[in-house]
Amino acid sequence: MNGKVGIGLRRDISKEILESTVLKPNFLEFAPENWMGMGGYWNRIRKEAVEKYPVTCHGLSLSLGSPEELDWDFIRELKVFLDENQSSIFSEHLSYTKSRNAHLYDLLPIPFRKDAVDHVVDRIKRVQDFLERPLAIENVSYYTPVAAEMTEIDFVNEIVEKAGCKLLLDVNNVYVNAFNHKYDAREFIGKLPLDRVAYIHMAGHEQVAPDLIIDTHGQPIIDPVYELFEWTIQKMDPVPVLLERDYNFNEIEQLQSELDHLKSIIKTHWKVTYESPEGKTSSAEPSGVHMATENKDIT
């Protein structure tokens, strides 16, 4: 899967993914919450997807930053789902989605504070132990800090270090946060432990004010984010890369062109081989610019 390019399995495009000759991801990402405990038509779609594609899972509701106790009934079900679907990676957001025992269904920013670091680290460790697999935590986009006592980069790094977990590097989120909070995206990425990155997310966003971008997952990736991605992957080993799109699925060809664009950048810097739609393979030698380790054969 390393160096391969996938897309999130959304119900709106499930038919295109399974039947279309246009859209050809290398792997699929499931949000477990959207598929767990489901029978009937959608269960058939899920099974078909698992038969056709390798799978990663990206959680929405674990709420690692919440004050209240983890929902162990949910985590038990989650473990079954991850096993059933042979998910090679499980990732979650470094955020909280639950407050006063009420789910909020969106990602709220955890205060960048030492006690929150310790709290989240403890929870990540317990989840990893229970799931018997490493957790990759995603740097989330945020629109305002909340009562911060430390920087975002120190907050993320300390959690990854202390929890011994992996990192899901969302390159678009770094771009969004750098724009919203006026810092240098490359400098931020340069300070991350890139050897801990297990997975990359790429997405589009929407600028809603001269000084504010919202991470919508509804638009195509913009060139500066592709450029940031290209800069980033030269500094690290190959990992799977996911195109996130949650809505605006009108142009399937356009989604495939984004996948192709990502592949073309990857092929320049990582040694990777892709199956073409005709079953032929295409590959390219990496430029070798600033590779973190020796090139590896990717299967």
Binding site: M38, G40, S99, R100, A102, T144, A147
Partner: protein, 253 residues
């Protein structure tokens, strides 16, 4: 817990604001930006409810519907981590709050449940199907039923009439809701009280139609056996055609 009380309090203030829309004094935020969180959170919930309950939304109108969603999200503590199940909590909340009575829409509970049950039947975990054969006698042999169904009892016939026209039609109504084994699509069938009685006993007691005919004749006050046989043949034939009845149960079931 490693989290300090003041950090917990700050997190809850942001959570409270997102749920209720009532501004909170949240420390250390960038002015003019926190409202995006309320907007994003509420949009997700509102969109989920709009998608789940299009008929109720149309019946109540935009303003009143939004009031119901706001009331639910600020008054309830949503428990499911799976947002597609949230419409059921929405239905339960308004049934418990007797919202239908309060806003003088007595059909509200039934309409919300009727819309929810389509989602539930469509998505519920697969149930084990019985072994069955295609040949048999509908009176003498036990029938094999598609297990993926529910019989819903309604007080207002929201499955037959536009909701606003049901307020004066309070009574006992039954709807068979089932999932097609082939397509997974959900189908609805209006049932009379007598047909509900027949269906329930055939399934619950695992008996053949002949074993039930005496009781049916008694309950329905039917004296003509031919009339009863014809009516039962038509009813069962319809259920076979619609794939609620799959065939005839094998002895091992």
């Amino acid at each position: 817990m490693k989290l300090h009380k003041d950090t917990e309090k700050i997190q809850n203030l942001l959570g409270d604001y997102c749920r209720t829309g009532v501004e909170q004094d949240i420390p250390g935020i960038t002015p003019g930006r926190v409202h995006h969180y309320r907007r994003l959170v509420y949009n997700v919930v509102r969109d989920t409810m709009d998608t789940a309950f299009p008929i109720t939304l149309a019946a109540l109108g935009e303003e009143r519907w939004d009031m119901l969603v706001q009331d639910f999200f600020s008054g309830e503590q949503p428990q499911t981590p799976q947002i597609w199940k949230l419409p059921f909590e929405f239905y339960q909340y308004h049934a418990n709050q007797e919202t239908g009575t309060r806003i003088e829409k007595p059909y509200l509970d039934d309409l919300l449940y009727f819309e929810w049950i389509e989602i539930e039947i469509h998505t519920m975990p697969d149930r084990p199907f019985p072994d069955f054969s295609q040949t048999g006698n509908i009176f003498k042999d036990r029938l094999a039923f598609n297990p993926e169904y529910e019989i819903v009892r309604l007080e207002y016939p929201v499955h037959m009439h536009s909701a606003e026209n049901t307020s004066e039609l309070k009574g006992d109504y039954f709807v068979l809701v089932f999932r097609s084994p082939e397509t997974g699509n959900v189908q609805f069938l209006n049932l009379s009280g007598l047909n509900t009685y027949i269906l329930t006993r055939l399934v619950d007691e695992r008996i053949a139609l002949n074993d039930l005919k005496g009781d049916i004749a008694h309950v329905a006050g039917i004296e003509s056996e031919k009339y009863l046989d014809d009516a039962l043949s038509a009813f069962i034939g319809d259920l076979i055609e619609k794939k609620l009845i799959l065939g005839f149960a094998k002895k091992t079931n």
